[in-house]
Every structure is written in structure tokens, then in C-alpha cells.
């Protein structure tokens, strides 16, 4: 009778990291489907390409670092990074732009910091921000026109050729300005009614985008329901965005309306899938609310008064900086204590 010596607890019922990540991927699928239905094959091709590059660069770098490659690849975190970039990048973003974004995310933002769990910044957003600043033309002129998949949108072959071809000649009728971009650039010289006549807005709020956002919202709620994420970050994020919009954006002739803020651009993807990356987010409930709210405020500020029509990446990265600070000042009150112990030891002990 060889008896095992083991420290308690002896029972475990963990949902392993790999399964957590798998659920994130599954929950993002409705959004991907909506993107494909409304904007063609671009996103799906991007997702496949980005995941492939992510896994390859993760494997290569793990090997370089002398880490067990299969053990870490199986945690699915690199796949999630690839997925998030594939969902975020413009549909017709050239293959090398996507590849640079993914390689930056995996190698510079994640592995160089020590790999899984050690990165202070959201890897996908580091990659996104890098290509957005470095290749502004490629990142703004390649958004697909909203067109029903089987009603005139480019086919798989055409999309592939477009993404992987060397030439970057714009194809008329394939691309179109995003609703947020259109609104931002036109509202200074036009009235809201005039701006909204642009086909990118469609008949609802933002043609195609509204459904994509709704799908990401649905997938995000599934994650909350499954307790993969808590409600705090999305609530802070969307709450702050709503409050900012109500406070400053009442005049539609000056600022984009709330509906556009919520249902155009990367709002829902950002709120439920990007800002909730646990590694680079705040940890306590209070902290998560503050972190999410910070992102919401920054998104509104950058969209309304900054140079970029959308701002999920910058806002998330800026709030990543604040995470250690937020964590120090938002620990919960522990059982049997009158108040929480904030800050560092030796100061203001509660």
C-alpha cells in the first residue's frame, strides 16, 4: 500500500483554463457569424489566419524559451488572442497587417513579459494599436461594406485574393467607411440628418454593425451566465459610456448619438470579450467596476474629441496601466474586519 502524500484540498473541480478559453471562443461565435452574414467572408478568413499565426508564433517562442510547447498551446489562450484580433481587424486588412498585429500581440505583449499570466497589457490590443498607428491607411480603408452574404458580397475566393494579394488597389463597392468614422468626419460640416443618410447607417442604427454588436452582447451574457466573466467590467464599461453620452452627447448635430456608441464599432466585443481579459484587468469587484468605467469614459472621450473614430484598443491599454493602482486601492473588506485594507502595508492600516 503505497500511500500518496498530498496537501489539502484533495478534491478538485476546476474548470481548467483551456476550457475557460474554449468557452470564450464559443461565446464569440455568434458575433463572428453575424460579421460573416453582414460583411462577408473577411472576418472569418481573418480569424482563421490570425489564430494560425498566433499558434505558430506562440509555439515558436515557447520553444525558444525552452518551455513545454504542447502544454501551453493546449491552454487555448493564444487561440483567443488570435480570435480577438481576427474579429477586430478590418475585413479586408492585408494578410501582413494581421500577421504583424498577431505576432506583436503574442511575442512582444505576451511572451516577452513572461508568457501567460504575466502580461500587464492586453496582448490583442497591443497588436491592434500597433498596426492602427503604423498602417493607418490599411486600417481605415479596408472595412467591408455591409452587404448580405449572398446578396452581392464578394465570395470566399475574391476575399482571399484581396487579403493575400500584394497590390492594395481599392475595389469599388467592396469597402465603405464605418458608421462611427463617417459620423465623426461629417458631423462637423453637416447636420445629423444629413450624415445619417449615408448608406453605412442603413435603415436602423448602423447597418450590419447593430446585429454584430447584438450578437457579441448575447455571447457576452452567456459568459456572464457561465461565470467565465463577472458582470462588473461590462457593466462599468457600458454604464460609463451611457453616462458620458447622456452627459455630453445630447446634441446629435455635434456628437454621435448613444445608440451609435453602443451598437456601432467594437463596443460589445470590447465590453465582454476584450476588456474582460482577466490577466490585464483589475481583480476585485470594485476594481473591475472602476476599470470598466475607465475604459467606457476613455472610449467616449477619444471617439468624441480624439482623432480616432473608435477607441477600444487605446482605452483598454490606458486602463491596463492603471490596474496595479486600482488593485491596491480596491481590496474588498475581509470577513471580521471593519474596513478594507487599502494601499500598501504600513500605511492607513484598517
Amino acid at each position: 500500500m503505497a500511500l500518496v502524500q498530498q496537501s489539502s484540498p484533495h478534491a478538485h473541480n476546476a474548470r481548467p483554463t483551456s476550457r475557460v478559453m474554449l468557452w470564450v471562443i464559443i461565446a464569440a461565435l455568434p458575433g463572428l457569424v453575424a460579421q460573416t452574414v453582414f460583411f462577408g467572408w473577411g472576418n472569418l478568413i481573418n480569424v482563421v489566419w490570425c489564430i494560425a499565426v498566433a499558434l505558430a508564433s506562440e509555439a515558436a517562442f515557447l520553444k525558444l524559451r525552452g518551455k513545454p510547447v504542447a502544454f501551453f498551446l493546449k491552454d487555448n489562450t493564444a487561440a483567443v488572442t488570435g480570435l480577438l484580433l481576427g474579429l477586430s481587424l478590418p475585413q479586408f486588412a492585408p494578410w501582413w497587417v494581421s500577421a504583424i498585429a498577431v505576432i506583436t500581440a503574442i511575442i512582444i505583449a505576451k511572451q516577452l513579459y513572461g508568457g501567460l499570466g504575466s502580461n500587464p497589457f492586453n496582448p490583442a490590443m497591443v497588436g491592434y494599436a500597433l498596426v492602427l498607428i503604423s498602417f493607418p491607411v490599411a486600417m481605415t480603408t479596408n472595412w467591408a461594406e455591409a452587404a448580405m452574404l449572398f446578396q452581392g458580397a464578394p465570395g470566399v475566393g475574391e476575399t482571399l485574393a484581396r487579403i493575400f494579394s500584394a497590390s492594395q488597389t481599392a475595389v469599388d463597392g467592396w469597402t465603405m467607411a464605418t458608421p462611427l468614422g463617417e459620423y465623426k468626419h461629417k458631423i462637423a460640416s453637416h447636420t445629423a440628418t444629413e450624415v445619417l443618410t449615408h448608406p453605412t447607417f442603413g435603415e436602423g442604427i448602423a447597418r450590419g454593425w447593430e446585429w454584430v454588436n447584438a450578437a457579441f452582447l448575447a455571447g457576452g451574457l452567456v459568459l456572464v451566465f457561465l461565470r467565465i466573466i463577472t458582470w462588473h467590467i461590462p457593466a462599468g464599461f457600458l454604464g460609463a459610456l451611457i453616462v458620458m453620452s447622456l452627459a455630453f452627447g445630447a446634441n446629435a448635430d455635434q456628437y454621435a448619438p448613444l445608440s451609435l456608441h453602443l451598437l456601432a464599432g467594437g463596443t460589445m466585443l470590447g465590453a465582454f470579450f476584450i476588456a474582460t481579459d482577466p490577466v490585464s484587468a483589475a481583480t476585485s469587484h470594485h476594481g473591475k467596476l472602476i476599470y470598466g468605467a475607465g475604459i467606457g469614459v476613455l472610449i467616449y472621450v477619444i471617439r468624441s474629441w480624439g482623432n480616432y473614430p473608435d477607441a477600444v484598443a487605446f482605452s483598454v491599454l490606458l486602463m491596463n496601466f492603471a490596474v496595479p493602482f486600482i488593485d491596491y486601492y480596491t481590496p474588498p473588506r475581509a470577513y471580521g474586519h471593519h474596513k478594507a485594507r487599502r494601499g500598501l502595508p504600513g500605511k492607513n492600516q484598517g
Binding site: 500500500m1 503505497a2 500511500l3 500518496v4 502524500q5 498530498q6 496537501s7 489539502s8 484540498p9 484533495h10 478534491a11 478538485h12 473541480n13 476546476a14 474548470r15 481548467p16 483554463t17 476550457r19 475557460v20 502544454f71 491552454d75 489562450t77 508568457g115 501567460l116 499570466g117 504575466s118 461565470r227 463577472t230 482577466p278 490577466v279 484587468a281 481583480t283 476585485s284 488593485d327 481590496p331 474588498p332 473588506r333 475581509a334 470577513y335 471580521g336 474586519h337 485594507r341 500598501l344 502595508p345 504600513g346 492600516q349
Partner: protein, 610 residues
């Protein structure tokens, strides 16, 4: 309906209780040997009261705590003391400890017993004495001596007495089966404790996954003021702090005790033991133990004599040796593994799980923390397990302590849910241990510093006192001198003495002049024997005078020393040294005189021979 509160966090692990509740409580019987550890609870170990080879009766006190906190140990049956030696004991450390081994004689002969039928006629101290003498210590966790626990601090009043029947740990059913089968004893013991404490409220908290126990207890409590609170099943609701929160809505202050908020928790088994101690005069010599796990064929609960070896018990439950992979003492959440079955059941042993590998598999390899926060979601103490983990891992113990590391009850909920299967509790235990060691070292260092400073202060003080004494002596000497001077003057007036000092000075002057003259002669002309001889003559005279003077001085000093000795003055030492010095001087003078005389004699001789 009792109002209930909820505690934060918690988990719902697989209960695995039905395996051991299918059979009624069985009696384990008499093993070949009983091994009784002298220390079965926190506090101080008991000391043996018996000799090897002595026959003892059932219930006889065989060891007692004479110094410090603890309770006595009793013989669970009659028999002969076989040895008092270090044996393996159930402890996470796996270390041996002192045990009394009893070889039962099979007669099970009781000592004389004096049951109390009406404890209310006694005073409370007497009943507490009975509980102490029965060797009762808490039978749930750490095993705190029950009589001490039943004496809350003078300034604390226990308003709520809670009997903890939650038994939230998976697998364990000892309390469940006790409540089902021994409800009357549980209630009787609870009533005794309630009588001692006089609380306003007396409540038994039972998790809702034990309907039969709830029913039995409700029946036994009919017509009494005792409340039965059925609480939702959630681990760790049976943790003292969590149960208090659930039943009273209050929180035990950090680093405090439940009595601080007027609450006390007692264990089901402890209540039975109290009942037996009072009504049967039967000390704590047996308890209910759950033997379960997939490696035993007939899992269930046993009434076991304290000291029964675990391997004997496992055999009773039908152990299938080859299947056992992990042997857990206690529950799967907080119990510890045994590396040998040769350890005895103690007063705190509530469960033994003989688990197969499939049943309690080894956790998957540890992965990096992804800060998902699942651990914080389930922490019943509302701590931040992941922060505690980082700080424990990186050795930033001060920060870990700042985030209330020491409030962690090590329930294991965080490790249970961790998606990266990080053994979090192990990290906390490590950090706590390190901090305790650091604290102990700090105390040691502080003591060393205090000792050093005290020594320095003492030396300085002594130096000052010495200085003070020296000054006093100088003063005294000056006074004595003045007195002597006065006396001498008086004597001179009387014409009895010469001025010694003047004489000495003159003598020194003379000697110097002679020396000068001598050197001068030596330098100017070759020394002639005659000259030397002629010069040696007065030298002898001078030497004689010197000797005489030294002798008189010595006598003088000897007199002073005798006086000083008689008065036990401070300067005895100094005088003694001075006398010794003078003694030398006298000797040297004598020697010099003798040499001089010899020299003179030889010169004279040579002169004559010439």
C-alpha cells in the same frame, strides 16, 4: 422559522456522504493494543500517571496535564500498560510523539463511577470540573479543551450557544449519524452546556442535506427552547465563522473569538461527551469515526475506543489494500494524508478516507495564474486569494499579511476551483509558516538586543559606581591624612617623633648626590678598589637606613590594613596590594644590603691579601 444569513463565497463539492450513512453506527470492538497519545489537542501534553506493567481500569486517569492548558487522558478499557514511548501519531508532520500503549485484558472492568443525576444541584464550577476531569476537548477541529472554552472571558457574555451540526465537509458523516442515533445524548449535553453558560438563544445548525438528522434532532428538542436551524448546504458552512454568520448575521472580529460577539460554537460529538461525563461519569474514551472511500467494502461509522489503530478500523470496514492510493484523515477539503496506517484514533479524529486513485486523482500540473478571480469569488473569508498567492510566492510576506493572510481558514475552496490547479492553500501555509518563523526570530533578536543593552547599562553603572567609590576613598584618605598630620604635629609638639617625610627627602637628596659623585668619579678616573671600598662603606649605612625605613613603613601599612579589614572598608584590596608591594621592597632592600655587605667583605679580603 429561524432567520438565516448567507456568507460570501463557498462551493458545492460532490458530497459523497451516502456511502457512509447506509449502515447504522457499528462498534469497532477491542483491538489488540490501544495507543494513547499524551497530546491530543492544542495546548500542553499530559504526563503519565502510570508505570509500565501497571494494570489500569476502564476510565482510569492514566495521564494528566500538570502545567499549562490541557485535559487528562483515560484508559479506554481495562488492561496493562505495555509501554510509554514515542510512536507514530496522526499529525500532518508525520512525526512521532509520546504515547501510552495499553494492552487490553478483555475484562473491560470499570473504575468506580459516580454519575450525577441532577447537575443543577451542583455549582457550575463543579460541573466544569467534571468536564475537565473527563478529558473532553473539542471533537471537531483543533480540539480546544472544552472546560476552558466554556469559561468565556469575564467581560464577555455568551448570548448565543451554537451546536455545529453543519458537517459541510464531503464524505464525513460522523455528526450526521450521531444526531440520527444519539439525539437524546446530544440534547442532554447541549443542555448541560447551556446551563453553564446561560445563553439567551440555543441553536443547532444543520445543513439541509441531512433530513434524517434534522428530524431526529427536532424530535429530541420538542418542548425545549432549542432551535433547529436548517441551513443551505454550502461548503464551508460548518466553519465556525461561517456558521456564526449564517445563524446570527454577525462576524467574528479578525483575530478575535466568537465570545467577543457573544457567541460560542460547540461540536455535536462534544455534546455527547459532556452528557456521558455528567450522567454516566464516563470520560472521553470513545468517539464516532467515519470510515469511507472507495477502497473499503463496507464504509460507515464506528464507535471507536480512543487509541484504536487506524489499520484495525480499516480492516473492520473491509479495506481492499491494493486499491488504496491516498489515505486522508479528515475530509477531502481540509484533511491531511497519512503515510502509515499505524496511527491511533485520537479525540479529534472524525473521518478516514481510503481513496482510490480514480476517486481522488492527483491534480493536473500547475499552470500560470491568469488572474481569473474564481478564487476570490469562492473565498468564504472575502480575501483576495490570488494576491495572497503572488505575495506568498514572491516572498512579499508583509504585503500578504496586509491583505489578511492570517484570516485565511485554509478551507481549500480557492484551490478547489482554481482553473490553473495552483495549490493555493499550500502557498498560504508556507507563507504563514515563514512569517511565524520570522516573528520568532524577531522576538529572539529583540531579546538579544535587550540583553546587550541591559549589559551595557550595567557595565556603565558599575563604572560609575566604581568612580564614585574611588572619589569617596580619595576624600576619606585626604581626611585621614589631615587627621594624621594633625596628630603628627601634636606628637612633634610633644617631641616624641621626627618628621619622617623630611628625613626621607634628605635621604633621597643624599643618595642622589652620592650617585652624582660616583658617576663623576667613574667618568673622570679609573675606578680603584680603594675608592670603591671607601665609597661602599657609607652605602651600607644608607642601605641599612633604607631597610629600616621600609620596614617601619611596612609595619605602618600592615596596621592600616588590619584596621581596614576590621572595619571592612572598601580599600582593603588596594591596601593588600600596597602591603605586598612594600613587602617586596623590604625584601629587595634586605637583599641589597646583604649584597653590599658581601661585596664589602670581599674587598676587605682582597685588600688584606694584597
Amino acid at each position: 422559522m429561524t432567520q438565516l444569513w448567507d456568507f460570501t463565497g463557498g462551493i458545492h463539492p460532490a458530497e459523497n456522504k451516502q456511502q457512509s450513512t447506509a449502515r447504522p453506527i457499528r462498534t469497532a470492538g477491542l483491538p489488540e493494543r490501544l495507543v494513547l497519545p499524551l497530546q491530543q489537542h492544542i495546548g500542553d501534553p499530559a504526563e503519565p500517571l502510570v508505570q509500565v506493567g501497571e494494570r489500569v481500569l476502564k476510565g482510569q486517569k492514566i495521564a494528566d496535564v500538570t502545567v499549562g492548558m490541557g485535559v487528562p487522558v483515560h484508559a479506554p478499557t481495562s488492561g496493562v500498560i505495555e509501554s510509554i514511548a514515542e510512536m507514530p501519531v496522526p499529525h500532518p508532520s508525520g512525526l512521532n510523539d509520546w504515547c501510552i500503549t495499553l494492552k487490553p485484558d478483555g475484562e473491560d472492568q470499570w473504575r468506580e463511577r459516580h454519575p450525577v443525576s441532577d447537575y443543577r444541584s451542583l455549582d457550575r464550577e463543579a460541573v466544569l470540573g467534571i468536564i475537565h476531569e473527563a478529558g473532553i476537548s473539542g471533537m471537531g477541529g483543533a480540539g480546544f479543551p472544552t472546560d476552558i472554552k466554556l469559561r468565556p472571558p469575564k467581560d464577555r457574555k455568551v448570548d448565543t450557544l451554537i451546536l455545529n451540526g453543519a458537517e459541510c465537509e464531503p464524505y464525513i458523516t460522523a455528526d450526521d449519524m450521531t444526531m440520527r442515533e444519539k439525539a437524546a445524548e446530544v440534547v442532554a449535553g447541549l443542555k448541560v452546556m447551556a446551563w453553564i453558560l446561560r445563553p439567551e438563544r440555543c441553536v443547532i445548525g444543520i445543513e439541509d442535506n441531512k433530513p434524517q438528522a434534522i428530524e431526529a434532532m427536532q424530535k429530541a428538542c420538542e418542548g425545549t427552547q432549542i432551535e433547529i436551524a436548517v441551513i443551505p448546504t454550502k461548503y464551508p458552512s460548518g466553519g465556525e465563522k461561517q456558521l456564526i454568520r449564517v445563524l446570527t448575521g454577525q462576524e467574528v472580529p479578525s483575530a478575535g473569538i466568537p465570545a467577543d460577539i457573544g457567541v460560542m460554537c460547540q461540536n455535536i460529538g462534544t455534546a455527547v461527551a459532556v452528557s456521558r461525563a455528567v450522567f454516566e461519569d464516563s470520560p472521553l474514551i470513545s468517539r464516532i469515526v467515519t470510515i469511507t472511500g472507495e477502497a473499503v467494502r463496507e464504509p460507515g461509522n464506528f464507535e471507536v475506543l480512543i487509541g484504536t489503530p487506524i489499520d484495525y478500523l480499516l480492516e473492520q470496514a473491509g479495506l481492499e489494500s491494493p486499491k488504496v492510493n491516498r489515505l486522508v484523515l479528515g475530509g477531502p477539503m481540509m484533511g491531511y494524508t497519512l503515510t502509515t496506517t499505524a496511527v491511533p484514533v485520537t479525540k479529534t479524529t472524525n473521518c478516514v478516507i481510503a481513496a482510490t486513485e480514480a476517486e481522488l486523482p492527483a491534480p493536473p500540473p500547475e499552470q500560470p495564474c491568469i488572474r481569473c478571480g474564481q478564487c476570490a469569488e469562492v473565498c468564504p473569508m472575502e480575501l483576495l486569494p490570488q494576491q495572497l498567492f503572488w505575495y506568498s510566492k514572491s516572498g512579499e510576506f508583509e504585503k500578504a499579511e496586509h491583505l489578511n493572510l492570517f484570516d485565511c481558514i485554509e478551507c481549500g475552496a480557492c484551490s478547489y476551483v482554481c482553473p490553473s490547479s495552483i495549490p493555493l492553500v499550500q502557498y498560504y501555509r508556507y507563507a504563514k509558516g515563514e512569517i511565524r518563523v520570522q516573528r520568532a526570530e524577531q522576538i529572539k533578536a529583540d531579546r538579544a538586543r535587550e540583553r546587550f543593552e541591559a549589559r551595557k547599562a550595567r557595565l556603565e553603572r558599575e563604572q560609575q559606581e566604581k568612580e564614585q567609590r574611588r572619589k569617596e576613598r580619595a576624600k576619606a584618605a585626604a581626611e585621614a591624612q589631615a587627621k594624621k598630620q594633625a596628630e603628627a604635629e601634636k606628637a612633634a609638639e610633644a617631641g616624641e617623633a621626627v618628621d619622617e617625610r623630611a628625613a626621607k627627602a634628605a635621604l633621597v637628596q643624599q643618595a642622589l648626590e652620592r650617585k652624582k659623585a660616583k658617576t663623576a668619579t667613574k667618568a673622570s678616573q679609573p675606578a680603584s678598589a680603594e675608592a670603591t671600598a671607601s665609597e661602599d662603606k657609607p652605602d651600607i649605612e644608607a642601605l641599612e637606613k633604607q631597610l629600616e625605613q621600609a620596614k617601619s613603613k611596612l609595619d605602618n601599612m600592615q596596621g592600616m590594613l588590619d584596621d581596614a579589614k576590621a572595619q571592612q572598608a572598601d580599600n582593603v584590596d588596594k591596601l593588600e596590594r600596597a602591603v605586598a608591594k612594600n613587602h617586596d621592597r623590604v625584601q629587595r632592600a634586605e637583599q641589597a644590603l646583604a649584597d653590599a655587605r658581601k661585596a664589602l667583605a670581599s674587598t676587605t679580603e682582597s685588600q688584606t691579601s694584597d
